[in-house]
């Protein structure tokens, strides 16, 4: 936190001074062996990794050269693992790992598919097609039509309401926010920061086209959103 308050120029010089005290081998050891491994293991649960945890458990006394460590870790993820290290929340400093490589085309029988991806697609799909915000009732009724009933234990998903409003929210796939001034209390869903980074709206619309047997471009509004004129994909959400 001390580092943050410094002027950018001061900061870099401080990092350099810190680096001079440590041997390059030591930094590499920290970066490759510990930060990368810590993040890979942490990513198993898909809950964003907090900078505070990284510093507390791994970086420790090397915190003065933290920016350099993260830069090297990002390079390792990029070059060795084909993953992208993304800071989804620059205010609270949270990181996620995203697959940088294209998915293999065709029916590749890989590890068994995760059914949660299907559930996420349904929810994110409805939110996207409805313009970005959807009341929770819309989601619950849609899921009900897909034989997934909230308040009942589902064979595949167990407690669906908990999975959607707790797990998916903590993983930052979804935002679940109370709508102000409603009686009884109502919530609405939006895409979470992870979804913004991880899910391709263009590919989602493509799948929609397949489901509806129509051209994805017929959803003009969504198509424009999925294909912004400047090819830069929407990064970390700027809605908030």
């Amino acid at each position: 936190t001390v580092v943050e308050r410094k002027h950018p120029h001061e900061l870099t010089s401080q990092v350099q001074r810190g680096l001079e005290k440590v041997s390059p081998a030591q930094v590499d050891q920290k970066v490759t062996a510990e930060v990368v491994q810590f993040m890979l293991v942490k990513d198993q649960k898909k809950i964003p990794i907090r900078r505070a945890d990284l510093i507390k458990h791994v970086v420790k006394e090397y915190r003065n050269i933290y920016p350099e460590i993260m830069r090297r870790a990002a390079r390792t993820f990029d070059q060795v693992f084909g993953l992208k290290l993304v800071e989804i929340d620059t205010k609270n400093h949270m990181y996620i790992l995203v697959n940088r490589l294209e998915r293999a085309e065709g029916p590749v029988s890989r590890s068994p598919s995760n059914t949660k991806t299907g559930l996420l697609f349904v929810i994110l799909g409805v939110i996207f097609m409805k313009g970005g915000v959807v009341k929770e009732n819309v989601i619950w009724s849609t899921l009900k039509k897909l034989r997934v009933h909230t308040g009942e234990k589902h064979d595949e998903f167990g407690d669906v309401k908990k999975m959607v409003t707790d797990e998916f929210v903590r993983q930052r796939y979804l935002e679940y926010v109370r709508i102000p001034h409603t009686e009884p209390v109502e919530h609405e869903f939006r895409w979470g920061q992870r979804a913004d980074v991880e899910v391709s709206k263009a590919k989602m619309l493509e799948f929609m086209g397949q489901l509806y047997e129509q051209d994805p471009q017929s959803w003009s509004q969504q198509y424009r959103e999925a294909h912004p004129p400047s090819s830069s994909q929407a990064g970390p959400s700027s809605q908030r």
């Binding site: 949660k116 996420l120 897909l146 003009s220």
Partner: protein, 332 residues
């Protein structure tokens, strides 16, 4: 929400009064809101309750009207939301008290919320996305068999037509994965320590505890036994030898028993040594009614050294048989 309770307290007969006033208030304007209770109703109410600040009544009534007529307000076919806002703007000129201003702010919050929702509707109007149709399409994709009725669903009482196969969600997930660039989760090839250390720890602790307890329990008893058995064994042996001595003595009380003849076992050196050892106890406790004749000992004593060859003694005394039978052979 306090804003909803307040009007019910201040209005004695809400419904009747409001409908009356609505028709009066709306008479001159467009007929869009005829029949239903409009937020503007309260404008006329001020005439009935002149003792109260004007704006308070209007503003307190408005949120109530909002929540009651939410859907009505949202309908794209009218401009009620705009009308209410214009009315509130007019009234805001008369606002003098902080409480009134706060109510005005609250009204704006609700109005903004409604406006946002209305805007969302407009967005969807071009190609309205219907979640119900979406669900139907998804069910088809997931392999719903609309002819067969799922037995489970019927039993559970769900109004489900068609049977959804077991791998339905897997089918959807496999296709949907293409939209996600999720990082594959990392797993150790040989596996790592499981992230649940308590159970194995407890197990080892338990084992250790039980074994150490058993050892503790076993040790004293074992030692006691050893002690006891050793002591008893010696005692028994001594008694046994005393028994032999007595019986030999009774056989021929007149002649003394030769010490060496008595103790030497011609077949076993160790038995001989044992006999000497046990015999020494009898001598020590002075069971001397058995006289011991041992000229050789006396002789060796004069030499100052005890050097007795067992074999020589066996020859000298012509010992053919042990006088003291071993305990085992005796038992047999």
């Amino acid at each position: 929400d306090s804003s909803q309770q307040r009007p019910s307290r201040s209005c004695p007969g809400p419904n009747g009064a409001r409908e009356r006033s609505t028709t009066r208030a709306c008479g001159g304007k467009s007929g869009a809101s005829t029949g239903t209770s409009s937020p503007r109703c309260s404008v006329s109410d001020r005439r009935d309750r002149q003792s109260f600040p004007v704006v308070v009544h209007v503003l307190t009534d408005c949120p109530l009207a909002f929540s009651e007529n939410r859907e009505d307000m949202l309908s794209p076919s009218n401009n009620k939301l705009t009308e209410v806002l214009e009315e509130a703007n007019k009234l805001f000129k008369d606002v003098r008290q902080a409480r009134e201003a706060a109510l005005d702010a609250q009204l704006l919050v609700v109005a903004t919320d409604l406006g946002k929702e209305k805007a969302t509707q407009m967005f969807a109007e071009g190609n309205a996305f219907n979640p119900t149709i979406f669900a139907e399409r998804l069910l088809s994709f997931m392999g719903l068999n609309r002819l067969e009725d799922g037995e489970d669903e019927q039993q559970n009482g769900h109004a489900a037509d068609g049977y959804l196969p077991q791998d339905a969600w897997h089918r959807l997930a496999r296709r949907a994965e293409s939209c996600f660039s999720t990082a594959p989760s990392f797993h150790y090839m040989i596996g790592s320590f499981h992230a649940e250390p308590p159970p194995p720890k407890q197990r080892t602790e338990r084992q250790r505890k039980t074994t150490s307890k058993e050892v503790k329990r076993m040790m004293p008893t074992q030692l006691k036994k050893m002690d006891d058995s050793h002591h008893e064994a010696t005692e028994k042996e001594v008694e046994r030898i005393l028994g032999y001595l007595k019986s030999y003595y009774q056989d021929d009380p007149s002649s003394p028993i030769s010490y060496y003849e008595f103790i030497i076992d011609p077949n076993s050196f160790s038995r001989t040594v044992e006999n000497i050892f046990h015999m020494s106890f009898l001598i020590r406790v002075s069971l001397s009614h058995c006289e011991l004749v041992c000229p050789l000992v006396a002789m060796s004593r004069s030499d100052g050294a005890v050097c007795v060859d067992r074999m020589e003694l066996i020859d000298a005394f012509e010992i053919r048989e042990a006088m003291i039978q071993t305990a085992n052979t005796q038992n047999e």
